[in-house]
C-alpha cells in the first residue's frame, strides 16, 4: 500500500527539504507574499503540467504545448486588440480551437499508429509557425477585461495575494485529481500506460481515450496560454519556448514514470512547486545566473529517473523473492 506512494513521498520530501534550506537562508520565504507569488508565477506551468501528466501516464508525450501557449497568446492579442473581439468570446474560441487541434493529434496517433513524439513534434512546429503567420510582433493586450481579471485576488494574512490565475491553477489541479483517480476515463488512461495491448483486450476504448487525452492536453495548454497572457499582458510568437520540456520535467520530478502507467496529479503539483522554488531561490540569491535554474532542474530530473529505475527494479526483486 505504501510502496506505490514512495515516488510522491520522495518528491514531497525534496520540496520540504528545499523549502527549509531556502527558509534557513532567507527567512522571508515563510511570508505569504513569497508563497502567493510562487503560485502565481507558476500558474501557467501548473495548468499545462496537469494535461501533460495525463499524456505521460498513458505512455505518450506532448511536445506541442509550449507552441500552443504561444499561439493562444498571439491569437488573443490579435483578435482582441486588432479586431476588437470580446475577450471572453476570444477565450471560448481559442479553447475550442485548441481542443480540435489536440483531438486531431490524438486521432493521428491512434489511427495511423504514429509515435506521439512525431505527431506532437509536427504539432509543435505547426502551432509555432501559425503564430508568425498572425504576427511577428509582440502585441500588448490593454483590454479593460484584462485589468479587471488580474485585479481579482484574495488577500492572504501577512500581505500576500492569492491571485485569480493562481486560483485557476489550483482548481485545475483539483479537477485533474478527480478526473485521474475517480473516473473511468482516469482508469483507462492508466490502463493505456500499463499495457496498450492488454488494455485493448480487456475492452478499454483505446482510440476514444487517446483522442481525449491529447484533446485535454491541448485544451489545458490553451488555458495555460490564457493565464500566461494575463501574466504578461501581451501576445508574442516567441513566448513559452521550451515550456514543453519544463512541463515534462515537472511531471517526472513529480513521480510520474516517463514510460507511463504510474504517477499522480498531486505529485506533478509538487514537481511544479519544486521548479518554482528553485527559481525563487535564485532570484533571492541575486548573484546566480538564472540558468542555474536549468542546471538544478537537470540534476534533479536525472536523480529522479535513476531513482525510479531503482524502485522498479527493487519491486521486481521483492516480488520474485
Amino acid at each position: 500500500m505504501i510502496r506505490r506512494h514512495i515516488p510522491v513521498l520522495i518528491t514531497l520530501a525534496v520540496f520540504i527539504v528545499g523549502y527549509l534550506i531556502c527558509l534557513a537562508q532567507f527567512p522571508s520565504f515563510a511570508s505569504t507574499r513569497v508563497i502567493g507569488n510562487l503560485l502565481t508565477d507558476n500558474a501557467f506551468l501548473g495548468i499545462v503540467a496537469v494535461g501533460m501528466t495525463f499524456v505521460i501516464l498513458s505512455g505518450g508525450i506532448d511536445l506541442s504545448v509550449g507552441s500552443v501557449i504561444a499561439f493562444t497568446g498571439v491569437f488573443l492579442a490579435v483578435t482582441i486588440e486588432r479586431y476588437g473581439v470580446n475577450p471572453y468570446l476570444a477565450f471560448v474560441l481559442i479553447l475550442g480551437l485548441a481542443a480540435l487541434f489536440g483531438a486531431g493529434m490524438g486521432f493521428l496517433i491512434h489511427a495511423f499508429q504514429i509515435p506521439a513524439f512525431i505527431v506532437t513534434l509536427a504539432g509543435m512546429f505547426l502551432a509555432r509557425g501559425l503564430c508568425f503567420v498572425l504576427t511577428t510582433d509582440s502585441i500588448p493586450i490593454n483590454a479593460p477585461a484584462y485589468g479587471q481579471i488580474t485585479d481579482i485576488a484574495f488577500a492572504l494574512p501577512g500581505g500576500g495575494r492569492l491571485t485569480f490565475i493562481a486560483i485557476v491553477m489550483l482548481v485545475t489541479f483539483a479537477a485533474g485529481i478527480v478526473l485521474a483517480h475517480f473516473t473511468r476515463f482516469g482508469a483507462n488512461v492508466y490502463a493505456l500506460g500499463g499495457n496498450r495491448t492488454s488494455a485493448e483486450l480487456m475492452g478499454v476504448p483505446v482510440g476514444k481515450t487517446t483522442v481525449r487525452i491529447y484533446m485535454l492536453s491541448s485544451l489545458l495548454a490553451a488555458l495555460a496560454g490564457i493565464v500566461f497572457s494575463f501574466y504578461t499582458s501581451a501576445g508574442y510568437s516567441l513566448a513559452a519556448t521550451g515550456v514543453e520540456l519544463d512541463t515534462i520535467a515537472a511531471v517526472v520530478i513529480g513521480g510520474t514514470l516517463l514510460t507511463g502507467g504510474y504517477g499522480t496529479i498531486i505529485g506533478t503539483f509538487v514537481g511544479v512547486l519544486i521548479q518554482g522554488l528553485i527559481q525563487t531561490y535564485i532570484t533571492f540569491e541575486g548573484t546566480l545566473s538564472s540558468w542555474w535554474t536549468k542546471i538544478a532542474i537537470g540534476a534533479l530530473l536525472f536523480a529522479f529517473i535513476v531513482l525510479q529505475r531503482g524502485l522498479s527494479a527493487a519491486s521486481v526483486r521483492s516480488r520474485s523473492a
Partner: protein, 502 residues
C-alpha cells in the same frame, strides 16, 4: 456429468482448417467440449494447439470449419468479442494491467459509478467478495504487479468467469507456477467445473493432465490424433499419441560403440534453478554424446540454457576438468570453450541480415574481443574452410544467411561454434525444420564431432534419432531429470516408456 444426447454440446468445432504460407496449421480438426468438463488439449510444438485457440477466440480467421457454442454457430471477431460470446481465455503471460489495482483489473470498463465518479469503495468491496469465492484474501487496492503470477492468474480467471464465461481456455497456466500454486489452481478449476463451466486446459505436464482432466484431445502436425476420456487412457498410449509413434516390437539397432571412459570434461552437481529445472547431476566425457529426451516443456531447453549460462543456476556447482567454474553468463561459457546452438534458430541463432562469413566468425570474434579484429583474409579463410567442411550450399560466403535453407543455416551455426574450437557443444533440436537430406548430414556431423573428442549434449524430440547417436540418454519429465539410460537401455522404446512412467 454427461449431458443427455438431445442437448447441444457446450462447444463444438467441426472441420476447423487454417493454413499459413507453406504450413497447414490446422487440417479439419474436430473438438467437442461438454459443460462441466476439464478438457486437456495436448500436442508437441507445431501441433496446432495455439492456432486452434486463436481461431476459436477470433485472433485468427479460420479458412474453413464450423464453431458452435450451445448449438449456435458463432464467429468471434476478436478476443473482446469472444469474451462477450462467453469464451474467456487466460494466457500463460497474464494479459492484465500490472499497474492498476486488483479491483480495477477486475472491473475496468464496468466500474460501479455514481454521477460519473467511480465508487472505489464499492468496487473494492465487490472485488474482495469475488476473489473470496476463489479462496483469495488479498488487499484488492494494491497494484496487480505486487502479487505473484499465481495470484495474477487467479485474478484473470475470476475476471473471465465474472464476465459470464461459459468456456474458459487456459493456455499453459501452470508453466511458471510451483507445485503448491498448481494445487490451488486445480482446486479452483474443479470448483468452476462443478458450476458447469467448460474448461480447455493446455499443458505439457502429463501428471497434471491425469490430476485434473476428464478428457483429452491430442493434435499432431495440425491434425486430430484422437479425443479420449482420460480414465481409460494409459500413459504410454497418451505419449505415443503425442509423439506419433507406436511401440516397436524390437529395439532398433544402433551403432555399437565402445563405452567412453576417462575423466569427465564437464560435470554438474546438484545444478538447478527454481521454477525452471530441478537440481540435476550430469557429467560428460570427451568424445561422448549425451542426449536429452522428454516432452516439450519437460526441461530440456532449460537444462541447456542453464549449462550455457543463459540462465543463472541458483543451486549446485559446475566443474570443468574437475575444477569448479563460474557459469553466470554465456560469455563465461564461451570462455570455457562451450558452444550452444539454440532451438529457435531464427530469433536466437542467426543474424539474418549478416553474411554467412560474418555469422560464422561471430563467436570467434566475440571470444577474441572486439578490439582484436580478425583480419579479413583470415575471416575469408575460416568461412571458406567451414563452408567446404560442412558442405554449406551457397554460391559464396557473402550471401546474407537469412536467404539460406534451414539445414544450411543450421550448419553455419555449427560452424560458428566449431570455429572457436570448442571442447563441449550443446545442440538444441539441431534437426528441427530441416529437410531429410540435410537431416542425415547433421547426424553424421554429430558423430564425426564426437570422434574428434568433443563432448556433445544433444536435445531432440526425435526419439529414433537421439537413440541412434547417443552414448547415454537423460530422460526428463516435469522439469526433472528422471532417469539416465546407458548401454543397451538406449532405445526409442525405453525412452518412451520412461517418459510415460510415473
Amino acid at each position: 456429468m454427461q449431458p443427455s444426447t438431445e442437448q447441444p454440446q457446450l462447444l463444438e468445432i467441426r472441420g476447423l482448417t487454417k493454413g499459413f504460407p507453406g504450413v497447414q496449421a490446422l487440417d479439419h480438426v474436430d473438438f467437442t467440449l461438454h459443460a462441466g468438463e476439464i478438457h486437456g488439449l495436448l500436442g508437441e510444438n507445431g501441433a496446432g494447439k495455439s492456432t486452434l485457440i486463436k481461431a476459436l477466440t477470433g485472433v485468427l480467421r479460420r479458412d474453413a470449419g464450423i464453431i458452435r457454442l450451445e448449438g449456435q454457430e458463432v464467429t468471434a471477431r476478436d478476443t473482446a468479442d469472444a469474451l462477450s460470446l462467453g469464451i474467456g481465455t487466460v494466457y500463460q503471460e497474464v494479459n492484465l494491467l500490472p499497474n492498476l489495482s486488483v479491483a480495477e483489473n477486475l472491473f475496468i470498463g464496468r466500474q460501479p459509478h455514481r454521477f460519473g465518479l467511480v465508487r472505489t469503495g464499492e468496487m473494492r468491496r465487490r472485488a474482495s467478495e469475488l476473489l473470496a469465492g476463489y479462496g483469495l484474501d488479498i488487499d484488492v487496492a494494491n497494484p496487480l504487479s505486487s502479487y505473484s503470477v499465481a495470484i495474477q492468474q487467479i485474478v484473470a480467471i475470476a475476471r473471465a468467469v465474472d464476465l459470464s464465461a461459459k468456456v474458459l481456455i487456459l493456455d499453459e497456466p501452470t508453466a511458471s507456477l510451483d507445485a503448491q500454486e498448481v494445487e490451488t489452481l486445480f482446486g479452483i478449476l474443479k470448483g468452476l467445473k462443478s458450476r458447469g463451466i467448460g474448461i480447455v486446459f493446455v499443458t505439457h505436464f502429463l501428471d497434471q493432465v491425469y490430476a485434473v482432466c476428464d478428457r483429452i484431445t491430442v493434435l499432431r502436425n495440425g491434425r486430430l490424433v484422437g479425443s479420449r476420456p482420460i480414465a481409460e487412457l494409459p500413459r504410454i498410449e497418451l505419449v505415443s499419441m503425442m509423439l506419433g509413434r507406436e511401440l516397436a516390437a524390437e529395439a532398433l539397432h544402433r551403432n555399437q560403440r565402445p563405452a567412453v571412459t576417462g575423466e569427465p570434461l564437464v560435470a554438474f552437481q546438484n545444478y538447478g534453478k527454481r521454477r525452471m529445472i530441478e537440481p540435476f547431476d550430469l557429467a560428460l566425457r570427451p568424445g561422448e554424446v549425451v542426449g536429452l529426451a522428454g516432452l516439450l516443456g519437460s526441461g530440456r531447453t532449460e537444462t541447456a540454457k542453464l549449462i550455457f549460462g543463459v540462465e543463472r543456476a541458483d543451486s549446485g556447482q559446475a566443474f570443468v576438468d574437475g575444477q569448479p567454474v563460474r557459469l553466470a553468463t554465456p560469455r563465461d561459457a564461451a570462455r570455457l570453450c562451450f558452444g550452444f546452438t539454440p532451438e529457435d534458430r531464427k530469433t536466437e541463432g542467426i543474424v539474418a541480415e549478416l553474411s554467412i562469413r560474418e555469422n560464422i566468425i561471430l563467436a570467434l570474434q566475440a571470444q577474441r574481443g572486439w578490439l582484436h579484429k580478425i583480419p579479413r583474409a583470415k575471416q575469408d579463410e575460416i568461412a571458406s574452410r567451414f563452408i567446404k567442411l560442412l558442405d554449406i550450399r551457397t554460391p559464396d560466403a557473402e550471401k546474407p544467411i537469412g536467404l539460406l535453407s534451414g539445414g544450411n543455416q543450421q550448419k553455419a551455426l555449427l560452424a560458428r561454434w566449431l570455429a572457436t574450437e570448442p571442447r563441449f557443444l550443446i545442440l538444441d533440436e539441431p534437426t528441427r525444420g530441416i529437410d531429410v537430406g540435410a537431416h542425415a548430414e547433421i547426424i553424421r556431423l554429430i558423430e564425426r564431432l564426437c570422434e574428434d573428442g568433443l563432448a556433445l549434449l544433444v536435445i531432440s524430440s526425435e526419439l529414433e534419432e537421439i537413440a541412434s547417436y547417443s552414448d547415454r540418454v537423460v530422460v526428463l519429465r516435469d522439469r526433472r531429470h528422471v532417469r539416465e539410460l546407458s548401454g543397451d537401455e538406449v532405445s526409442a522404446d525405453t525412452i518412451m516408456t520412461t517418459i510415460a512412467s510415473h
